[in-house]
């Protein structure tokens, strides 16, 4: 390692202005206590979702599917009535942590299972919309002026496509397509993803347009680097900050959209439990068993709030105009 490199490393470690933009952003982010708390919450949620998947499907400790009719609509923390249900159907530790629903299914087990499904709906649909948005936005931003078939520019085609997609009332479009397609969790992910890429495409394009004119891209081109390398190694990482922010906010939006679809009866079908459809089913028992409504409702609220707060924290951390402090 040369002396110069060593100083750069030392600079980065000391957190001076020589640090990489990512590291600087991380430092700003870490100082934001609310965003950090939200990030921890999301980490816990990720663990919960993974362990939920493991504990409800692979190594069944909490079985979300067992129906125990004598134990229907029990409040949280009530003990299972061992004299009335078979021993094999008893919940773990003999306690319903979050109560039971009308069929006597363990709400805690269903929430655990649902955490994985809800989270994967959010993440997968956002991944789809990001992939499309970044690809199209990058295409329009980098190859913009190039002509297709002699009379339309790449930029024109992509942007008109974005305009067309923006013209559909989005929730109504999702509703229509979900209602027409056979009900499945993958269709819901796909539809939410396919209808949400327009914003990403727009700002990736804008970012690429401005990056194209920057000196380092010019230098890379002058060095004769292959175009693929320029796009993926030099331009893409510099355009990622807003993408990351909108991805975080997008997951929050997707989880809310899923719960809205569940409410209208177009959500994920059984046997999959999602927080959205537990909540939607729970509203029938609002008076008899309020926990069926409030447990998933508050869970969705907390998780979506955490995603939103992390997203905002990231936005502040990446915004170079900011010297820190609340904005």
């Amino acid at each position: 390692m040369s002396a110069a490199q060593a100083t750069v490393r030392a600079d980065a470690a000391a957190g001076s202005s020589g640090a990489s933009p990512l590291r600087r952003a991380w430092r700003t982010f870490r100082r934001d206590r609310v965003a950090m708390a939200a990030l921890w919450l999301l980490a816990i949620l990720a663990v919960a979702a993974l362990s939920g998947k493991a504990l409800t499907e692979w190594w069944v400790v909490f079985d979300p599917a067992v129906v125990r009719l004598p134990d229907g609509l029990l409040p949280p923390l009530s003990r299972a009535r061992a004299d009335r249900i078979p021993a094999a159907d008893l919940p773990a530790f003999g306690v319903y942590l979050l109560g039971t629903d009308d069929l006597g299914r363990d709400v805690f087990a269903r929430m655990l299972q649902g955490s994985f499904v809800s989270l994967s709906i959010g993440v997968v649909s956002v991944a789809i919309s990001l992939a499309i948005g970044v690809a199209l936005g990058g295409l329009a931003g980098y190859y913009g002026p190039r002509r297709l078939l002699g009379f339309v520019s790449v930029d024109g085609v992509v942007m008109r496509l974005t305009d067309v997609m923006l013209c559909f009332p989005s929730f109504f479009l999702i509703l229509t397509v979900v209602a027409l397609l056979p009900p499945s969790i993958y269709n819901i992910m796909l539809v939410i993803g396919l209808t949400g890429w327009m914003g990403t495409a727009r700002f990736v394009r804008a970012e690429f347009l401005s990056l194209r004119e920057r000196d380092f891209v010019l230098a890379a081109e002058a060095l004769g680097l292959p175009r693929r390398r320029i796009i993926y190694r030099h331009m893409m990482p510099n355009a990622m900050a807003p993408v990351l922010v909108s991805a975080t906010l997008g997951v929050a939006g997707a989880i809310l959209t899923e719960s809205g679809l569940s409410f209208l009866g177009f959500g994920v079908r059984p046997p999959f439990a999602t927080w959205g459809n537990i909540l939607a089913d729970g509203r029938a028992y609002l008076f008899d068993a309020p926990w069926l409504f409030f447990v998933p409702g508050l869970a969705i609220f907390v998780v979506v709030l955490a995603f939103n707060l992390v997203g905002e924290g990231l936005r502040e951390a990446f915004d170079p105009r900011l010297g820190g402090g609340p904005r």
Partner: protein, 321 residues
Amino acid sequence: MTRFLARALGQRLVLLAVISVIAHAVVHLAPGEPSAVDPMNPRLKPEDVARIRAAFHLDQPLHLQYAHWMRDLLSGELRSFKDGQPVLPRIFDRFLNSVPIFLVATLIQWCLAFPTGIAAAVRRGSAFDRGSTVASYALISLPSFFLAYVLVLAVVNAFDVPVIGMHTFGTETGTPWLRAMDRLWHLVLPSLLSAVLGVAVLSRYVRSQMLEVIAQDYVRTARAKGLPEDDVVYRHALRNALLPFVTMFGLVLPGLVGGSVIVEQIFAWPGIGRLAYDAVLTRDFPMILTLNLIGAVLTLAGTLLSDVLYAVVDPRVRVSA
């Protein structure tokens, strides 16, 4: 200006045509025809299904179906698959019901979001600022129907008044004054709920816009001249901070169609959102397509309006023909 308008209109008409073709293709190519809504019904024989399909032109190639739809729509003869009623008058009826919610909700949004955003920006970092930030994040993060149910429960428990529907059952024979007040009261909750998300988002936006303007040099100059703080904020800063919001006047328009499905469903409000929901449930293709098209028209009209307004308000924006 005329050339700009003509050009913008032309572009939007082309876009609209493309949108109508895509919407038509998506709806018709997706599985699940109107004739397949009730596949288990033993009394629905194959020849009946064929008759239904022929009556709706569903047995014809896609481009002919498109032509049928367009011809019927433009001549006003378009009829619903479900009950054979003309589509446009029904949409117009429902539209009249949705407009009050939309107007009141928009009014609530703007009246709440602007003072909150401005106050938060002016007193940046204060308890009010932090409180409004937390509140707006909380409102953004709640599933709308969860909030609606909690609110309905709270209101019904606290005031013991009916809130669902457009009017209270049994007031049809009351005095006009009673009916009007009843109608107004029934408007309150749905509008408030439609407005909630908008208030949260808009106030954040107002705040960041205001912060940006306050940090500018001419505002510092105004302060340095010794102007009273209120003059600086409301006469100098606010005017420029408002510019981007002029464009938003146009962008709220599409909310008329798609924005209110859940709220109208909860409050049993016979508006456009519920019409759309019912149309989707029964695979009422003409209705779905027409509503989608109206949504697109509103969006395009909204962007046009915002472009024009922006050019009118901000002299720096030059209209290029």
